[in-house]
Symmetry: C2
Subunit: 316 residues, 2 copies
């Protein structure tokens, strides 16, 4: 789920409630709706976002160690700053602590949060602790942003690019859902997402027109970008980079919580620039489709439209 | 519950865990520890804080309507900005939505949050929603602050002043705990706390040396201020302003979640200035004691030391 509820989300029942909330708030809310809110405070422009993770809704206890879990929830929140090409500054983390957790468990969780913040140059600014029946972790992130790359900037003719290789976290979730332990590669992709902060700033400088981080899955997030930009996204299925741990081509299209970047880049960005990206960051960067007039997401296989696979929407 | 865990909290088991977390974070955390973290971002100085409220820990469903509840959790968080004399700018709210809540319930809650933000000139910058077995609301607040009034600035010789009249929220909680509906006055104090934003800025300009908002109760919060300042706080029990809804003098000393201000003010601040405060804000402002060398909180009755009543620590 993204940081800021907004009316330009793609279709889906879970987003109707968010739309209703934002309509009710009206002028009392910031008129934004990307992965982050972009707000002015004094002479600075900030990107801010908050991500709520609830045990039983977003993950199960036992999947990850406490330090891993802290990293994961903080990295997921920081990825919202990457999505708008912001520079992370601070992190606040509230933890609802379940019965049976001792002091060590709480400090381990915060240790993981501190690691994720430190890895991108941010500081832990604060937090709150309270008793809770289930583990709840809410992470708020604040960054600075000169030119925010929004979801809404894509134009017909732009190429669609994606960082990384997709399908790993989905494979891990599928294994857990089947009562099995995921393979090491899939587990690592779920446990240790890396917010693409430096990559996003590079892409902003390279002319990125629209950007979103992949939290709901490639097809669903392309849908958010298409809706916000008032365009259609064409995705060529064969072009989508599939992670070694992914189950199938379709899994790569719907696997959520990837925290990779989907980017609309106009010419002259092309293969030569993609090679530069890969050389600089050692992360794959792949052209997977184009922005077209129209609306929605259109998946093509061998040049013909196919029904997109059912969208993955986090663990339930 | 204060915004930022810190090593200079008063005594108490619930704070040991916070201390351990902050020690483990070390250099990865902002070296602060007041009601807010005070941080620099670009050319601005911000005050930031986060407050986690969990149904069953901090309140029970049914005590308040949804709009009231939204106001209350947001006002409590905004009170942390008042405590350092910051100017509120933005609010982010994450809600873990329990089964049975419909869209209307969620929008009502956010409506209350929007009202509290709007009342102090802040905007709702964002939020997140997730399913949760119990209602969870985490509110993060961001403000601007030129000169932050910290807990740590009190010096022997300062007078201790408190805004408002105390004991109302404690009386409401006592009624609910006994299975009764609280009286209207007590209920109003619990449901509709008013963050003392304008008052705090006035007090900053009037020379306030240390300040804290009353969330744990007068004696407990005076303890935090004393610990942070390296001083003792003397409270004269007869001087403490008792709310009409309060049960007893002792209740006023321990009633939590008041969101009034406890302030250390040096001379020449005195009765004339207190009258100005009351005229400007229509809120009582009362001298209740003095800052002395030493440590801890010392309650006096008729000039003799007495044991302070047991500290109230939120609903459990």
């Amino acid at each position: 789920m993204s940081g800021v509820p907004h009316a330009d989300l793609g279709p889906g029942a879970e987003f109707d409630r968010i739309r209703a909330v934002w309509e009710r708030l009206g002028a009392r809310a910031a008129p934004s709706g990307d992965d982050c809110a972009i707000v002015r405070i004094g002479s600075e422009q900030l990107a801010v976002s908050t991500d709520l993770a609830v045990e039983g809704t977003h993950f199960r206890e036992g999947w990850l160690g406490k330090i891993e879990l802290g990293w994961r929830v903080a990295a997921a929140a920081l990825s919202d700053l990457a999505a708008v090409a912001a520079v992370p500054a601070g992190v606040l983390a509230s933890v609802g602590v379940p019965p049976g957790w001792d002091e060590r468990a709480v400090t381990d969780l915060m240790d993981g949060i501190g690691n994720a913040a430190h890895a991108v140059g941010a500081t832990v600014w604060g937090g709150d602790l309270a008793r809770s029946e289930r583990l709840v972790v809410d992470v708020t992130v604040v960054g600075m942003v000169a030119r925010a790359v929004l979801r809404s900037g894509a134009k017909p003719g732009d190429a669609l690019w994606v960082s990384g290789a997709l399908g790993g976290p989905g494979a891990a979730l599928a294994a857990w859902a089947a009562g099995k332990e995921p393979g090491a590669l899939a587990r690592e992709r779920f446990a240790h997402p890396v917010p693409r902060i430096a990559e996003a700033r590079w892409l902003e400088a390279a002319g990125a027109r629209a950007m979103i981080d992949l939290s709901d899955g490639l097809v669903a997030d392309a849908g958010h970008l298409a809706a916000a930009s008032g365009v259609a996204c064409r995705i060529d299925r064969e072009a989508v980079p599939i992670h070694a741990a992914a189950g199938s081509e379709d899994d790569a299209l719907v696997s959520g919580e990837e925290y990779e970047l989907l980017v609309a880049l106009p010419a002259p960005f092309g293969d030569a620039e993609a090679v530069e990206f890969v050389e600089q960051f050692a992360v794959p960067f792949t052209r997977i489709g184009t922005v077209e007039p129209g609306h929605g997401v259109h998946v093509y296989a061998q040049g013909s439209p196919v029904d997109p696979p059912q969208g993955f929407r986090h663990f339930r």
